[in-house]
């Protein structure tokens, strides 16, 4: 059988050459283009079975080209390549119907696998994707999720898929505190067709039950003492937008039952009222993993739980995506330079090594607080490790916050052990300035075993050398 043609679009001739070599070895015919306009011309002339395209190119924006490709031939799989794996482009690319989204550096195995998969598929486009999933303007900078690691790329892709589902598809976001659950909720809202409708966040722990109830459901005039005027609840205010219920695990049994009814019937009454009011909003709820324990103990209704989590988004803790910590650190450095009117230019190598290996029990929020404090304290150009380490040591003395999760024993032990290993190895390397032999000796481990731990946690000795 004749192998199909693959079009590769990139402004970097080295990348084009690499692709052509890999694909030619596998017997595909390759057609190359240096920019978007050329690519569109080649598509009409050659009808390729698959397109690889770098999204950052001169002349026309890659996403715009993708849109035009999809109007020319909706079924042709297009694989997007980018050097910067930001949330915005990933979500947008998936919404516009990209088959897959790869970040540089590319590896040959991945290119081969994607080529096979993409060509094996004549993509069955979901009825909503691409058409209703238009994008509504740029999200405010402060709501951007930061992270280029593989687990975050998965989260971005899932957000893209979710944003094309109807509002009655409820979403549950699971993640430890400080991982950015509200940011995910906002991203789902902003990526959907109802982004111009309200986003209404409510923290279920912030208010006592009666207040929370009237806050959510609203009340009629005279419903209870002090209810002077009719008040609209959050369910109504949200219209066809999004209701974000944070810390849902803390909802009282009474409100759990009422919420379950709202989700089942998609309607409710204001307190003291009799008229049923339709709910058009999407429910996005968030909780940490303790909710399963709460369910086992009978404090959280199982039927409500399953109703809430039609789709689940699992947010990885920061220690499982250590690649992102330096990126986040630089982002917060910029943010607090601006806010505090400082001009700290960066981190010393040792400070950066610390940031990369610290296990962050408080996740992104803890990292942000660390950087804010360090920017405030730093007098010179760069942040030194002491500015970061002090508060960490401080808190760990006061309250050793171990991430003992409400999972099974074996899993929790493994997690804790991994944190211990990572911290142990980094601290020794720091003490011995990156000298592996000395660090191994100091820990009374063999050099081999020490190195095994280093590679297990992707810790590089050179980041600890002066």
């Amino acid at each position: 059988m004749k192998k199909p043609t693959v079009l590769v679009v990139d402004d970097d001739p080295k990348i084009l050459f690499a692709f052509r070599e890999v694909l030619r070895k596998d017997g595909y015919k390759t057609v190359l283009a240096r920019d978007g306009q050329e690519a569109l011309k080649k598509i009409s002339a050659e009808h390729p079975g698959l397109v690889f395209m770098d999204i950052t190119m001169p002349k026309v924006d890659g996403l715009e080209v993708l849109k035009q490709m999809k109007t020319q031939d909706e079924r042709m799989p297009v694989v997007i390549i980018t050097g910067y794996g930001t949330m915005q482009t990933a979500i947008k690319a998936i919404q516009l119907g990209a088959f897959e989204y790869l970040t540089k550096p590319l590896d040959v195995g991945k290119i081969r696998a994607v080529t096979r998969e993409a060509l094996a598929s004549t993509r069955r486009t979901s009825p909503t994707a691409g058409r209703h999933g238009q994008y509504h303007g740029d999200m405010a900078d402060r709501y951007e999720l930061i992270g280029r690691s593989a687990p975050m790329q998965e989260v971005y892709k899932l957000i893209g898929s979710i944003s094309t589902t109807p509002n009655h598809t409820s979403i549950l976001i699971l993640g430890e505190s400080g991982t950015g659950k509200e940011l995910v909720a906002r991203a789902i809202h902003n990526a959907g067709p109802n982004a111009h409708k309200p986003f209404v966040p409510i923290d279920c722990t912030a208010l006592p039950e009666p207040l929370l109830e009237s806050e959510l459901f609203g009340h009629e005039k005279g419903a209870f003492t002090g209810a002077g005027e009719r008040k609209l609840g959050k369910f109504e205010i949200a219209q066809e937008g999004t209701i974000f219920l944070d810390e849902i695990g803390n909802l009282s049994p009474h409100l759990q039952q009422k919420l379950l009814r709202v989700l089942q019937e998609r309607e409710f009454e204001r307190l003291g009222g009799n008229t049923a009011i339709r709910v058009g909003a999407r429910f996005v709820c968030a909780t940490n993993h303790d909710i399963e324990l709460e369910m086992k103990n009978g404090n959280f209704r199982e039927d409500l739980f399953f109703r809430l989590k039609v789709v689940t988004v699992n947010l990885p803790p920061l220690r499982e995506r250590n690649d992102d910590s330096s990126h986040l650190a630089n982002y917060f450095l910029m943010k607090y330079n601006r806010q505090l009117k400082k001009s700290v230019t960066g981190f010393s190598d040792e400070a950066m090594a610390f940031l990369r290996t610290y296990p962050y029990p408080g996740n992104v929020r803890e990292l942000e607080n660390l950087i804010e404090r360090a920017v405030m304290l730093t007098k010179g150009d760069v942040i030194l490790p002491d500015a970061l380490r002090e508060p960490v040591l401080d808190t760990s003395v006061r309250s050793p916050s171990l991430p003992i999760l409400s999972e099974d024993f074996a899993k929790s032990r493994i997690k804790l052990l991994q944190m211990f290993e990572r911290q142990f190895v980094s601290e020794l390397l720091r003490k011995y300035h990156g000298n592996v032999t000395a660090a191994a000796k100091g820990s009374r481990m063999t050099r081999q075993n020490f190195q095994r731990l280093m590679s297990k946690h992707d810790i590089k000795a050179k980041s600890f050398r002066d």
Partner: protein
Amino acid sequence: MHYQPTVLITDDDHNILAAFEDFFRRENCSVIGVTSAEEALHKLESHHVDLLVTDVRLKLQSGVTLLLHAKAILPKLPVIVVTGYPDLITETDAKMYGANYFFLKPLELDKLREAVRTCLHMNGKS
């Protein structure tokens, strides 16, 4: 030799999983049975699979999450969604998320058999 298609089944009830496994073996399929969406995703990434059958109500991530993920990585993979909770998800929803077939438990085996054969045929492997 005749091609033996692989079916990945996700159901957190071990009894139902075992019953499914019997059913698919009689249909001449090779079967991978898992009890969570997380395991299923892992299998999808590491094995060749011709058909995904999933329950909606699973412990951690739901069957719908699995379906969305699966369709994102393997758009052509046929998926059969099964549920004992018709109020959690409607047939229209399931199909919009990308499912090819939607069945309520208890299953009518004749209908399931017909759907499986169509799915595997669609994938061009039977």
